[in-house]
C-alpha cells in the first residue's frame, strides 16, 4: 500500500514533506522543466522586499569543501513585480507557494506581511529574520530574541495566513530564539538559514566574495542543522521545517526523525535541479520498503 506522505504544516496541507528552500528555487517557474511542481510538498520563493533589490557585486558565489558561500545580497524583484509578474504563474500550480520576505525595519516586515496576506495564491509566509536591523545599528534581527519577537509580533498582526519564521543558526542558543518566535506568534519555525562564512583567494590576497563574507550552505552544514532542529523540536510545540544540506532521502528522513514535520531542499537543487522531486520519491520508496505506513509516525521518532 502506498504510504501516507502528507503532513499538515500549521494549516498548510502538504502532499509530502519536501519543500524547496528560499533563494534556491527562483519563483518556481525556473525549475518547471526539471521538477513537476505538483510532485513536491510546497515551494518557497526567493526572499522578497518592498522595493526591488539589485544585490551585491560579483563574485557572489564560491565553492567550499562540501558546501558553498553565497553573497547574493537578497537580489529580488520586489513585492510589486512579484505580484505583477510571478503570481500569475502560481495560479496554475496546484502546490502551496510560500512567500519568503525580509525588511530593514519592523515596519517594513509588517508592511510586507500585509501585502502578502492579500495574495490568494500565497499559501503561507516565511519571514527571514537573518537581516540587519537598520534602526539598531545593523544588529541582525535573528540573533537577538527581543528584536526577533518584535518582527514576528508585527507580522503576526498583519497576516492571518500561516506564519513561518526562519531562524538564523549564527546564535549561541537557537532554542532561546525559537521560543521567542513561538511566543510572539509564529505558526511554524524553519531552520537553518545559512551560517556566516568566508573564503580567501590566496593568490590575490583578497576575499573571494566581493561582499567579503557570505552565507554557508550545502552538505557541509548538515550536522549543525540537524543538531539545531533536534534541540528546537524538543523545546517548542509548533511544527518545524528542517533545512540544511539535504541532498537525498536519507538526509531528509534524518531531519524528520530529529523532529521536523517538513524539510526544505536548498543547495541540492543547484547540483541536481530535480532534487526535490527525486527526494520525495525516494522517501516514499523508503517508507514502503521499511513498512512505514505514514510519514507522520517518523516525526521526532528518534530514540535517544
Amino acid at each position: 500500500m502506498k504510504p501516507d506522505m502528507s503532513v499538515n504544516l500549521a494549516g498548510i496541507m502538504l502532499r509530502n514533506p519536501v519543500m524547496t528552500a528560499s533563494g534556491t528555487f527562483g519563483y518556481g517557474e525556473e525549475f518547471a522543466e526539471y521538477v513537476n511542481l505538483e510532485s513536491i510538498g510546497a515551494f518557497v520563493t526567493k526572499g522578497l522586499s518592498l522595493k526591488p533589490r539589485a544585490g551585491n557585486p560579483t563574485p557572489r558565489i564560491v565553492e567550499t569543501p562540501g558546501g558553498m558561500l553565497n553573497a547574493i545580497g537578497l537580489q529580488n524583484v520586489g513585492i510589486d513585480a512579484f505580484i505583477a509578474k510571478k503570481v500569475p504563474f502560481l495560479r496554475n500550480v496546484n502546490t502551496p507557494a510560500i512567500a519568503n520576505f525580509f525588511g530593514n525595519t519592523v515596519d517594513e516586515y509588517a508592511e510586507l506581511a500585509r501585502r502578502l496576506d492579500e495574495i490568494p495564491e500565497v499559501a503561507g509566509l516565511e519571514v527571514n529574520i537573518s537581516c540587519p536591523n537598520v534602526k539598531q545599528g545593523g544588529i541582525v534581527f535573528g540573533t537577538d530574541p527581543g528584536c526577533a519577537a518584535s518582527v514576528v509580533s508585527a507580522c503576526r498582526a498583519a497576516t492571518k495566513k500561516p506564519l513561518i519564521v526562519k531562524l538564523s543558526p549564527n546564535v549561541t542558543d537557537v532554542v532561546v530564539m525559537a521560543r521567542a518566535c513561538e511566543d510572539a506568534g509564529a505558526d511554524s519555525l524553519s531552520l537553518i538559514n545559512t551560517l556566516t562564512g568566508m573564503a580567501i583567494d590566496l593568490g590575490r590576497r583578497r576575499p573571494v566574495l566581493a561582499n567579503i563574507t557570505g552565507g554557508f550552505s550545502g552538505p557541509a552544514i548538515k550536522p549543525i542543522a540537524l543538531r539545531m532542529v533536534w534541540q528546537v523540536a524538543k523545546a517548542v510545540k509548533v511544527p518545524i521545517i528542517g533545512i540544511g544540506g539535504i541532498m537525498n532521502a536519507t538526509d531528509a528522513l534524518e531531519f524528520i526523525l530529529a523532529g521536523a514535520t517538513a524539510v526544505q531542499v536548498g543547495t541540492a537543487s543547484f547540483i541536481n535541479p530535480g532534487a526535490a522531486q527525486q527526494i520525495a520519491g525516494e522517501m516514499e520508496a523508503w517508507l514502503l520498503a521499511n513498512g512505514v505506513a505514514d510519514i507522520k509516525s517518523l516525526i521526532g521518532a528518534l530514540e535517544v
Binding site: 534556491t24 527562483g26 525556473e30 526567493k46 560579483t58 565553492e63 562540501g66 543547484f270 541536481n272
Partner: protein, 272 residues
C-alpha cells in the same frame, strides 16, 4: 535537459588543454552556438557544484551497421585549472558524467552579408568553433586566436578545415605574430571599413579591449562571458554581470546563465 553522458574520448590537445567527446540524447542536436553545459564532475560531494563548459561541437556518429541508430555526441574543449577540471582530465572512455544542458542564450548569427570576425583567447575558442561552423555557411569568417604562448593556441586546423581564415598571435611570439591578437583584428577592421560583426570569447581583459574597439568603431559585437555559477538555470543569481547602465545607485545586473552567456557588448558595463 539533464542526461547521463558516456565519454567517447578524452585527449590532451595541447599541454593543459583537453578535448572530450561524449554521448548526447537526440534533442541535444538543437544546441545553438554559444550555449553551454553544466557538468557534474563527481557523484561525491567534492567538488560539490557543477562546472560550466561551452559546447565546442555537436555531431552524430554514423551507424556502423545499416539500420542501427546513430549516436549523437557533443564535445567540450577545456583547460585544467583546478580540482574539477583535473578530475575531468583523469576520466576515460566509457566513464559517465551527469550533464545539464544545453543552457543559456547563444550567439546571434546576424546578417549574412557582413564579414564575421571571431576573436578567441586561449580556451575562449571553446564556444567559437560551433559558431564558426554555422557562420561559414553564410558569410566569410576570419578567426583571430591569441594566447600567451603557442601552447595556448588551440584547434586552428579544425577552424581552417571549415574554410575559416586564421590569424594567430602570442604574447611571447612563439607562434604567429608577437603581441596581442587584437592588433590583427584592428588591421582587418581597417580593411573592412566597419562592415563586420565581431564575436569574442576569452579573458576579461581581451573582451574589454574588443568591446572598446567595437564601441569606438560602431561595429556590432557579441561577447561570451564567464561568471561563477551554482545553478546554470537562473535560480541562484550568482552569475550576474553588470549591465551597461549599472552603478551602485542604479544597479542593473544581467543573468549570465540565462540572458547570456552571450551578450551584445554594448549591453554590458566595461572598465574604462
Amino acid at each position: 535537459m539533464q542526461f547521463t553522458s558516456m565519454i567517447l574520448s578524452n585527449a590532451e590537445v595541447s599541454p593543459g588543454y583537453w578535448r572530450m567527446r561524449m554521448t548526447a540524447p537526440q534533442q541535444f542536436a538543437s544546441a545553438t552556438p554559444g550555449q553551454f553545459v553544466m557538468v557534474r564532475v563527481s557523484g561525491a560531494i567534492d567538488p560539490l557544484l557543477r562546472r560550466p563548459f561551452g559546447i565546442f561541437d555537436v555531431g552524430v556518429h554514423a551507424p556502423v551497421q545499416s539500420g542501427a541508430v546513430p549516436q549523437p555526441y557533443f564535445e567540450m574543449l577545456y583547460r585544467v585549472v583546478g580540482k574539477g577540471t583535473a578530475m575531468l582530465s583523469a576520466l576515460h572512455e566509457t566513464d559517465v558524467l551527469d550533464i545539464l544542458g544545453p543552457l543559456g542564450t547563444g550567439f546571434n548569427l546576424g546578417s549574412p552579408d557582413e564579414e564575421k570576425l571571431i576573436v578567441g583567447g586561449g580556451v575562449g575558442l571553446a564556444p567559437l568553433y560551433l559558431l564558426a561552423r554555422e557562420l561559414v555557411k553564410r558569410s566569410p569568417v576570419r578567426l583571430f586566436a591569441g594566447g600567451r604562448t603557442r601552447d595556448d593556441i588551440l584547434c586552428i586546423t579544425e577552424f581552417e578545415r571549415l574554410g575559416v581564415e586564421c590569424y594567430t598571435a602570442t604574447e611571447d611570439g612563439s607562434l604567429g605574430e608577437c603581441g596581442l591578437v587584437t592588433e590583427a583584428l584592428l588591421r582587418r577592421l581597417d580593411v573592412l571599413k566597419g562592415r563586420a560583426t565581431i564575436y569574442a570569447c576569452g579573458p576579461h581583459g581581451m573582451l574589454n579591449a574588443v568591446a572598446a574597439t567595437a564601441e569606438a568603431r560602431k561595429i556590432p559585437c557579441q561577447v561570451s562571458l564567464e561568471g561563477y555559477m551554482a545553478c546554470g538555470v537562473g535560480a541562484c543569481l550568482g552569475c550576474v554581470a553588470p549591465g551597461r547602465g549599472h552603478s551602485a545607485e542604479t544597479p542593473d545586473f544581467r543573468c549570465v546563465c540565462t540572458e547570456g552567456p552571450v551578450f551584445e557588448s554594448n549591453e554590458l558595463k566595461w572598465r574604462d
